[in-house]
């Protein structure tokens, strides 16, 4: 016999190091030969898409395309420290640092353009497709490429730094502002529980994630799918089995993570509500995307069979044991 149920899960997530710890990201922007823009920044691409998102933020601020930017982020001797690729902090923290650096760079470029265009002021100057343009008399314009040729013996660069705002919590009461910003989400799932084998099947999922603003919706959806899959493993399979400190399942044939056949289509919804302190309103989502899934599944299992599973993962054995115990108690 199979029983179906639905469940919902919510979460909030404070991003950044938090608790008043200095959370600093830095970036340097430099005009490169040929008018290309170099962004030097210790942002790590772990697969989450930081490299692309950072370039998008830089390109937006400097009025160029992603193809005009070189992000140098591999070598500690060439780039400033931007903190760890963790704590869901790169989009917000390092994104802010890059935005600030690019804004400073814009001022530098305006100064050079003022000289080269013979203007009295930088007022009215704008950046447009790799050129500095006097917005109300667009015939006055000079390209980054031209500037890089004129100033080939001089480094045109600007720095940017962003320090996140949190406070240390009181050690006795925990009162304080430990994180900023917070990201929110909600997920609903439908499950089917096989009462004879204890196998839980996911049938349907709808997942809404607040992103402040989505820098790149495809990347964001990819994170949501990936977080969902990781959470599916967390809820149903994954358990590092220890015996006197020994990991009993230390390989992929013993420690099972979801395959493509275990995963289901997820209806992802991106909720945008730009955050004022964030670069173009964008908040981080890397960690939160896995959080509300497990509770949604657990609540759906309860809805299906009337038994609350309080311990993860919900293996078939555990579920059958719970079902048997419930039968005995009734």
């Amino acid at each position: 016999m199979k029983k179906r149920g639905i469940g919902v899960g919510l979460s909030f997530y404070g991003t950044g190091y938090g608790n008043g710890f200095p959370d600093i990201s830095r970036a340097i922007v430099r005009l490169l030969p040929g008018g290309r823009i170099g962004i030097y920044c210790g942002v790590t691409e772990v697969g989450q898409g930081a490299k692309t998102a950072m370039i998008q933020i830089g390109a937006e601020t400097l009025g160029v395309t992603e193809k005009d930017i070189d992000l140098i982020h591999e070598d500690t001797s060439l780039m400033p420290d931007s903190g760890t690729a963790a704590a869901t902090r790169q989009t917000y923290n390092t994104g802010n640092a890059i935005k600030v650096a690019c804004q400073n760079m814009r001022e530098k470029l305006f100064e050079k353009a003022k000289v080269e265009l013979g203007l009295n002021s930088t007022a009215g100057l704008a950046l447009e497709k790799g050129e500095v343009v006097l917005s109300f008399f667009p015939q006055k314009r000079i390209s980054f490429k031209r500037l890089s040729e004129i100033y080939k013996d001089e480094t045109i660069e600007a720095e940017g730094e962003f320090v996140a705002q949190t406070t240390t919590m009181d050690p006795d009461t925990g009162q304080g502002a430990p994180y900023w910003p917070y990201t929110f989400n909600a997920c609903a799932v439908e499950v089917e529980v096989d009462m004879n084998t204890g196998i839980v099947n996911l049938l349907r999922a709808v997942f809404a994630q607040d992103a402040g603003r989505a820098v790149n919706p495809h990347l964001l959806e990819g994170q949501m799918d990936g977080g969902f899959a990781m959470a599916l493993g967390y809820t149903l399979f994954e358990d590092l089995k220890l015996e006197n400190g020994v990991i009993k399942n230390n390989r992929f044939s013993k420690y099972l993570i979801p395959t493509a056949m275990d995963m289901i289509d997820v209806e992802n919804i991106i909720i945008e509500d730009p955050e004022n302190t964030a670069p173009y309103g964008a908040k981080g989502i890397g960690e939160p995307v896995m959080i509300p899934i497990a509770p949604a599944i657990l609540n759906a299992i309860y809805n299906a069979i009337g038994i609350r599973i309080t311990e993860l993962p919900v293996t078939p054995e555990k579920l059958m044991k719970a079902i048997r115990e419930a039968e005995v108690n009734n």
Binding site: D194, N196, G198, I199, F237, T259, M261, D262, M320, R324
Partner: protein, 287 residues
């Protein structure tokens, strides 16, 4: 790994000569899906490795007279793609289709599945339910043994597994298979069952049931067979068969931590193989 010499063998004779000469120093490799892991982790340390995957006479599925013969290096994928294993032989198709992943099915072989002696070998229960005969060859000659007895007297160091054969079933003789894995792909079986049933209408005229992962090796479930023989396949019979199998498991797996779960879950797959057999008998396509 400390292999001194390797052979890409082209004939059975060459292999059995090599095995005769080197004995336990030599190992045979075909699909490699188990043995390369063992080699790489130094679980086995042969000096000689003999590849048999390119030997023509060990390959493929043949229908001869009343027998179907599967060469030992036939891959799971080849079984899945073969039209022979549709209709009433669907159980073997289904078992092979549920092995590992596409990559594993493309390389892993029926012979390897038998020779490795894993209790969870997916293709073995259906072959056992078919009352298959295993042919092994060595410099001392040919040995034929039923798959059921094979595990008591498995492959010896000088032997090469040549093929496995079984009598082609009649239309009213139906092979089915069911598996409970840990996830939907790449899943090692935690329970498998296969049945071969000869029907006379709904009545079971003859039957063989084989299980995997319920003992040290795949085995025939004779108590279930005895119970089902001569009965009409209906709900009451299925319930009864489940009880019989559970009692038999209680004996066999007494004290095992896996027993409480397996004895419950077995009902689903025993029901599946029996109901599927009936459905095929009644002309419902299961594939």
């Amino acid at each position: 790994m400390d292999i001194k010499k390797v052979y890409n063998s082209k004939s059975v004779e060459e292999v059995i000569d090599l095995l005769g000469e080197y004995g336990k120093k030599a190992k045979v490799i075909a699909g490699g899906t188990d043995i390369v892991i063992a080699l790489n982790k130094n679980v086995i340390e042969p000096e000689i490795l003999i590849d048999i995957s390119k030997i023509e006479e060990l390959k493929g599925i043949r229908e001869e007279d009343e027998y179907i013969t599967i060469g030992s290096t036939t891959t799971f994928a080849e079984v899945v793609e073969s039209q022979i294993f549709e209709n009433n032989l669907y159980g073997l198709h289904k078992a092979c289709k549920m092995v590992g992943s596409p990559q594993i099915r493309n390389k892993g072989t029926i012979g390897g599945n038998i020779a490795n002696g894993s209790p969870a070998a997916d293709s073995v229960p259906p072959l056992m339910a078919l009352d298959s005969i295993v042919t092994l060859k060595s410099i001392d000659g040919i040995r034929e043994i039923s798959l059921e007895d094979y595990y008591l007297n498995p492959i010896k160091e000088k032997e090469l597994l040549i093929n496995i054969r079984f009598k082609r079933p009649k239309d009213n003789q139906i092979l089915t298979f069911a598996k409970l894995g840990l996830r939907k792909a790449l899943a090692i079986s935690r329970l498998t069952l296969s049945s071969y049933i000869e029907f006379e209408d709904k009545t079971i005229d003859s039957i063989r049931v084989a299980s995997g992962a319920l003992a040290k090796f795949p085995m025939r479930e004779k108590e279930v067979e005895d119970y089902l023989l001569g009965k009409s396949l209906e709900e009451k019979t299925i319930e009864g068969a489940i009880e019989v199998l559970r009692n038999s498991m209680d004996e066999r797996l007494k004290g095992r931590s896996t027993l409480p779960y397996k004895r419950v879950a077995i009902s689903t797959i025993l029901r599946e193989i029996l109901e599927e057999a009936l459905a095929i008998e009644e002309g419902v396509k299961a594939w």
